[in-house]
Structure formats: structure tokens, C-alpha cells
């Protein structure tokens, strides 16, 4: 009887019931779409951070060099005697990445021993600049000029101050690439944690002093390196054992990865690192650990993943703001409106059935049963609204994902931000970025999870229950004698 009665009643006022259900569906659909969209934006942010920062890295520590100490690599371009004029030359300079001051490797150990630190690993980021050409015939006796236009850059993300050939000079070829020294015992954390292996292998723990290298895939392609080839760095030959990309599939932060010990040696930085990667024992410890590190290394720049996330700008940021502000409020407003409409329609349906309920009460139906009947009708309407709403939401989410433009996220803004005190972006990135900001391109998805679907259905159900409770309350207040007198 309960279900028959619900079915008959809803069939009689199917237009109104459908309207109620659709109202709830739109509210719920918006919630689903907006939540899925926000989830997608969140995923995109994760992807961006992941590709810039590495999985599992909670904090990076580096020390910014005073501006005066930083300078372009100096090449001795002075031919010395005129007899050398016109002769060919080729030189390499491997330097710590500009703007960074090295830290003693002992600091890694002291950070590691801090409370709440699960792991700490040092890394050394270098820039190798190679200059070749012939000495100019008539050249003012001077060193290479300060930074100017870069004539050649092996990768878009790789650039540094380079000696600029002056107009009078014979052609000089200048190329540079970035190198990361990786602690081979800890490849899970450190410069390589933001990369993904695409072919070959990474370092094994026994390769601390073996001349092997892992290359960024794009860099390898550009320079025609394949697995097994050798790369010459600072005059030494390294065997290519693996190729990587960033986690987002774009170029990784460094062009070349080699064992840390070798990187320290070739750059004259024995026992030194210029970046420390820290993993906290738990996410809630990150803030505490950051303060602790600040006490141990007062001059260091300590950057957490959150700090970095806060610096993300570009269309991704706008997308996230859109989801947070407009989307959220739109969904809430639609939901509230749907609840109100559902309640109003239910109450009006109840007041049109006063006599019906009076009759049932005369037959001995208890108020509870009548409330249950009204509630049952609303719950069925709510469930229908939930189902339609989930469909609207899922379709909406797919449309958003399908039609939304590719989003761009930019981290780190200008050279001043990078080299200024407490510089924003971690130096490891800066090394790779040069002094420009890095932009990562991500495709937006709008994932709809089971939990979200359940939440949506729950919301619609709640709307149904709420409106049914209103209507039922009105119905239960009717006194049968009065209800039966009502002429309608």
C-alpha cells in the first residue's frame, strides 16, 4: 500500500514531481560538476608541483648567494700572444648554478637529525658552459663580456649568463647545459624525484663514482644522444644509462644527471651541496620542520611545497579561483534554491490534500503514517533528482574537461624574485629555469569519484527528506475534524 500510494500520487502530479526532481538535479549536478572541476584543478596543481618539485619532497633548502659573488663564468679568452690569434680553441667551465651558494654536506646530516624529518638528501646543481671557436684576430684585450644575448641554448629551460661574442669577433659557439649531482643512494628523494624514467635505468647505489649519466629525453634528442652513448662533461666521458622526462611529461629540471660525488669533484665543490631535499615524517610536521631548519641554517631559503603552490600563477590559478569562488557559490545557491522550491511545492501539494489526509485520519491512520507517506513521496522525488543530477554532473564534468583550454601554470616570476633575499622559487628550479619563470602546461580533467556520486545522491535525498519533513509536518498538524470540513 505504501509504495502503491506513493506511485499513484506521484503519477498524478508528475509534472510537479518532475519539476521538484529537476530542481534538485540541477543543484546536485552543479555540485558534482564544480567539485569534479575543482578536483581536476587540484590534480593539475599537483601535476605542476610534482613536475617542478618532485614526489615526496616536502621542503627544499638552499642558500642564495649574494649578488656580487654571482657572475658569469669567466673564460680566459686572452690569447696571451699574438701568435695564438686565429687559432681554434674549445673550453669547458662547470660551475655551481648561478645565484647559489654551496652548503656543507654536513648540513644534510644535521637536517636529517631534526625532529619530524624522515629523510634529507643533498643535491648539487651545476651549469656547464662550453665555448669553442677561434680567437679573434683583432680583439681588445679583455675577458668575455658580461651577460648578453645567448647565442645558443640547448634547451628552452637551460640558459645562463654567457660570454657574448662581440661584433668584431670570429664566430664563437657557446652552449650550456645544466647538471644535477644525484645522491645515488637516495634516488627517491632529490633532484631526480621530479622525473620519470622513460627508458634505460637510474643509478644504482654502487655507482657513486662511476661515470654514468641520466639525460633529459628532450635534451638527448636535441643533441642526438642515445642509451649507451657517451657524453663529455668537463673533459670526462660519461655513459648514458637512462632517459627521463618530468612527471608532467615536459622537460625535466636538469639536462644531465650524474652521481653527486663526481659532480662535486668536477666543480671543485668536494663535500658541498647547493640544495637539500627534505621529506617530513608527516604532512602536519612540515611547518614545524621548516622553522627548525630556519634555526639550523638561518641564512638559507626554505621552501615548502605549499609555498610553491602559492606562487603558481597563470590560467591554472584563474581556474582554481573560478572553482573556489564562483563555482562553489553557484552550486550552493542552486542547491539552496532547489531545496526551497522542493519544500514549497511539497507544502503546497500537502495543503491541496487536506481533505484526503482528514479522510485517512478518520479511517484511523495515525499522523505518523501520513507523515511517512508524504516523506516517502519526497524521498522518491529526491532520489530521482539525485540520479538525474549525477547524470547532469557527470556529463557537465566531461564537457568541462573536453572544452576547457589547456591550462598554464607559471612558477617563479622574475630574476629579482630568484636572487632576492628569501628568493621565491627553490634554486634547484632556478638553475634549470635560468632566471626566467617556468611554465608547465597541463590538461584539465574533471574526475567524478564514487564518493562524489554518493555525496550528490545524498544531497538530493537530503533535499527530498527536508521538503518531505516540511510537508509532513504540515500534514500531521491537521486535526481530522477540521480537515474534513475543508471544502476544496
Amino acid at each position: 500500500m505504501f509504495f502503491t500510494y506513493i506511485y499513484r500520487e506521484l503519477r498524478r502530479r508528475h509534472r510537479q514531481a518532475l519539476l521538484t526532481a529537476l530542481g534538485l538535479a540541477v543543484g546536485v549536478g552543479l555540485v558534482v560538476a564544480v567539485t569534479a572541476y575543482a578536483g581536476g584543478v587540484g590534480d593539475a596543481q599537483d601535476t605542476v608541483l610534482h613536475s617542478l618539485y618532485g614526489v615526496g619532497t616536502d621542503i627544499t633548502v638552499s642558500q642564495t648567494q649574494k649578488q656580487s659573488q654571482s657572475g658569469p663564468p669567466q673564460f680566459n679568452m686572452n690569447p696571451g700572444s699574438t701568435s695564438k690569434q686565429g687559432k681554434a680553441f674549445s673550453r669547458d667551465a662547470v660551475r655551481s648554478a648561478p645565484g647559489q651558494q654551496s652548503l656543507s654536506a654536513t648540513k644534510v646530516a644535521s637536517i636529517k637529525s631534526l625532529d619530524g624529518v624522515a629523510q634529507a638528501v643533498g643535491g648539487l646543481t651545476l651549469t656547464s658552459t662550453h665555448v669553442s671557436g677561434s680567437f679573434a684576430k683583432a680583439l681588445s684585450q679583455s675577458s668575455a663580456q658580461p651577460p648578453g644575448s645567448s647565442s645558443s641554448s640547448s634547451s628552452s629551460s637551460s640558459s645562463s649568463s654567457q660570454p657574448a661574442p662581440s661584433a668584431s669577433q670570429a664566430p664563437i659557439k657557446v652552449s650550456s647545459f645544466s647538471i644535477s649531482g644525484v645522491d645515488v643512494s637516495q634516488t627517491g628523494l632529490g633532484p631526480m624525484s621530479s622525473t620519470e624514467l622513460v627508458s634505460g635505468r637510474t643509478f644504482t647505489t654502487s655507482e657513486a663514482t662511476t661515470k654514468v649519466a641520466v639525460l633529459d629525453k628532450a635534451y638527448a634528442k636535441q643533441n642526438s644522444y642515445a642509451l649507451g652513448d657517451t657524453v663529455t662533461i668537463s673533459g670526462a666521458k660519461y655513459t648514458v644509462i637512462g632517459l627521463v622526462t618530468s612527471a608532467a611529461g615536459t622537460s625535466s629540471t636538469s639536462n644531465v644527471y650524474i652521481p653527486l660525488t663526481l659532480a662535486q669533484k668536477m666543480s671543485g665543490n668536494a663535500g658541498k651541496v647547493n640544495q637539500i631535499y627534505v621529506r617530513a615524517a608527516s604532512a602536519k610536521d612540515i611547518a614545524t620542520v621548516k622553522t627548525e631548519i630556519k634555526t639550523v641554517l638561518p641564512k638559507a631559503t626554505v621552501t615548502t611545497a605549499q609555498d610553491l603552490a602559492d606562487q603558481v600563477s597563470g590560467s591554472l590559478k584563474s581556474a582554481s579561483q573560478l572553482a573556489d569562488n564562483l563555482g562553489k557559490w553557484l552550486a550552493i545557491a542552486a542547491l539552496v534554491a532547489a531545496f526551497a522550491v522542493a519544500s514549497l511545492l511539497t507544502v503546497s501539494a500537502v495543503s491541496r490534500r487536506v481533505r484526503e489526509f482528514g479522510t485517512l485520519k478518520a479511517l484511523g491512520w495515525k499522523s505518523r503514517r501520513i507523515v511517512g507517506q508524504v516523506l516517502g513521496e519526497s524521498v522518491v522525488t529526491g532520489l530521482a533528482g539525485g540520479v538525474i543530477g549525477v547524470i547532469i554532473g557527470v556529463v557537465g564534468a566531461q564537457l568541462i574537461a573536453h572544452f576547457s583550454p589547456v591550462l598554464k601554470a607559471t612558477v617563479g616570476q622574475t630574476a629579482t624574485a630568484a636572487s632576492g633575499p628569501g628568493g621565491a622559487a627553490p634554486p634547484g628550479m632556478q638553475a634549470a629555469l635560468g632566471q626566467a619563470a617556468q611554465t608547465v602546461v597541463v590538461h584539465l580533467t574533471a574526475p567524478v569519484s564514487i564518493q562524489l556520486v554518493l555525496l550528490a545522491a545524498g544531497l538530493a535525498l537530503l533535499g527530498g527528506i527536508l521538503s518531505g519533513a516540511f510537508g509532513g509536518w504540515r500534514a500531521s498538524r491537521l486535526r481530522p475534524a477540521d480537515a474534513l470540513r475543508r471544502v476544496d
Binding site: M1, T4, R8, A362, L363, K366, A481, L484
Partner: protein, 258 residues
């Protein structure tokens, strides 16, 4: 009062005992005494007709007798229980077990079929679905509507609808059937039909039948008639006493109804 003498004088068969029953309605600052002190005893198996002019309190009295409402004061004892002192739940219980209602405008649930409408009377009893359907079908058969069980009220004539309502009242085999102008919306032939049906059931089952009516023909069939005037029981008006003068009554009622 002279009119309260029951047909059956035996104390055991007494169903209702009303003493000083009043019902006061308050509408803003205005109060209406719909019932102004009713003393009435009704025995089991009576066919009682309540008559009176419009607004005299007939419906109000019937609602008190049907436990749809409690009196404002006085006592209304049904089978030894004072209805005036019962809570909402107990009133509902009493209604579902003892009374069957028939209304002037039938009051069927518009969305439900004839069969389902009859079934609604069995819902408070929590009987199983199968038994419920069987008993409802039997009740419909009893009023001669077995062929229309699957029709909704809007597909039935007024007479048929009232038959469904009677089946709904009878399906629980209640002690008392309360009918408020059951033929008020029906033409004369259908009226004869419906009253004939109620009378037949009353005779066969020994139920108590209490009918409010303006219709002198219907009133003439009762075992006892009472008159209400402004919330009080009155002696029957001279021209309404059974006898040759009764033909004058319809004229008076016509005047009152317009």
C-alpha cells in the same frame, strides 16, 4: 428528554452515553457553541437519524460520536471509555476499530482505485497484503461493485463512489457506521439505492447506523430520530412528527437551504 428514550432499554446494549457534551469553536474573538450541552444515549443496533437545520451542530455531533474530535466539556462515554479523555493515538485506534464513516462528498482518495480505497481502511490494522486484498474485494462485492475494482473515483458515478465509500466503511465490520448526509449529492433513485443498501446491511449485521440527513424520506426509515437546534436536542417540530402533516417538511427545508 422525551426523545432520548432508546429503542432497546437494556443497559447492557448501551453504546454511547453523552452527558452535557459541549463543543465551542473560537474564531478570533467570536465563539460559537456548536453543541450546547447534549444528553444522549444510543443503544447498540439502532438506526438513528439526526436532523436539524443548517448550522445546528449535526456534523459536529457526528464528529464527536466518531471520535474525530473531543468535546470541549461534558463526557462522551463509548463502551465504558470516556472519549473526551483519550489522546490522539488512542482516538485513531478507536476510529480504526469501531467506526466506519460515510461522507456526503464520498471522500475517496482520488489517486487510488476502488479496490485500493477500500484497502486503506485496513492499513491501520497491519493485515497482510493478500488478506487485505481479499477482504477489500469481498467488501466491494458486498456493495455490488466487483466489476469496477480497478477504476479510480473519477471514472465512477456518484452512486458508485458512495458504494465504494460504504464498502470502505464496512470492510472492517465496525460496530458503528456514521454517515453525514450520505445521499446529499445523489439523485433520488441513487439515494433509494444507497439507503436501501445501508438499511440492508444494518438489518443483516446488527450494526449501529447513525445518519445525519435533511431528507425526510431517509429520516422516515430510521428506528429513532433526534432533532438538533442551535446545538441542543429538541422535540420534533409539530409538522415533522410522523403522520399526515409530514408532507410540509420539504418546503421548509428548501427555504432553509437557499
Amino acid at each position: 428528554m422525551t426523545v432520548t428514550t432508546p429503542r432497546n432499554l437494556e443497559e447492557d446494549s448501551m453504546l454511547y452515553d453523552l452527558t452535557g457534551v459541549t463543543k465551542r469553536y473560537t474564531q478570533g474573538r467570536r465563539t460559537i457553541d456548536a453543541l450546547a450541552g447534549i444528553d444522549l444515549r444510543i443503544g447498540g443496533g439502532e438506526f438513528l437519524v439526526i436532523q436539524g437545520s443548517t448550522g445546528s451542530g449535526k456534523t459536529t455531533l457526528l464528529q464527536m460520536l466518531g471520535a474525530l474530535d473531543r468535546p470541549t466539556s461534558g463526557s462522551l462515554v463509548y463502551e465504558g471509555r470516556d472519549v473526551a479523555k483519550l489522546g490522539e493515538g488512542d482516538l485513531a485506534e478507536l476510529r480504526s476499530h469501531s467506526y466506519g464513516f460515510v461522507f456526503q462528498s464520498f471522500n475517496l482518495i482520488p489517486t487510488l482505485t476502488a479496490q485500493e480505497n477500500v484497502e486503506t481502511a485496513l492499513v491501520p490494522w497491519h493485515v497482510g497484503g493478500e488478506e487485505r486484498r481479499r477482504r477489500a474485494a469481498e467488501a466491494l462485492e458486498g456493495v455490488g461493485l466487483e466489476g469496477r475494482a480497478r477504476h479510480v473515483p473519477s471514472e465512477l458515478s456518484g452512486g458508485e463512489q458512495q458504494r465504494v465509500a460504504i464498502a470502505r466503511a464496512l470492510v472492517r465490520e465496525p460496530k458503528v457506521i456514521l454517515a453525514d448526509e450520505p445521499t446529499g449529492n445523489l439523485d433520488e433513485r441513487t439515494r433509494d439505492d444507497i439507503i436501501g443498501l445501508l438499511e440492508e446491511l444494518w438489518r443483516e449485521r446488527g450494526q449501529t447506523l447513525i445518519v445525519v440527513t435533511h431528507d425526510t424520506w431517509v429520516a422516515g426509515r430510521a428506528s429513532r430520530r433526534i432533532w438538533l437546534d442551535a446545538g441542543r436536542l429538541e422535540a420534533p417540530p409539530v409538522d415533522e412528527r410522523p403522520g399526515p402533516a409530514a408532507s410540509a417538511a420539504p418546503v421548509r427545508e428548501l427555504v432553509l437551504q437557499t
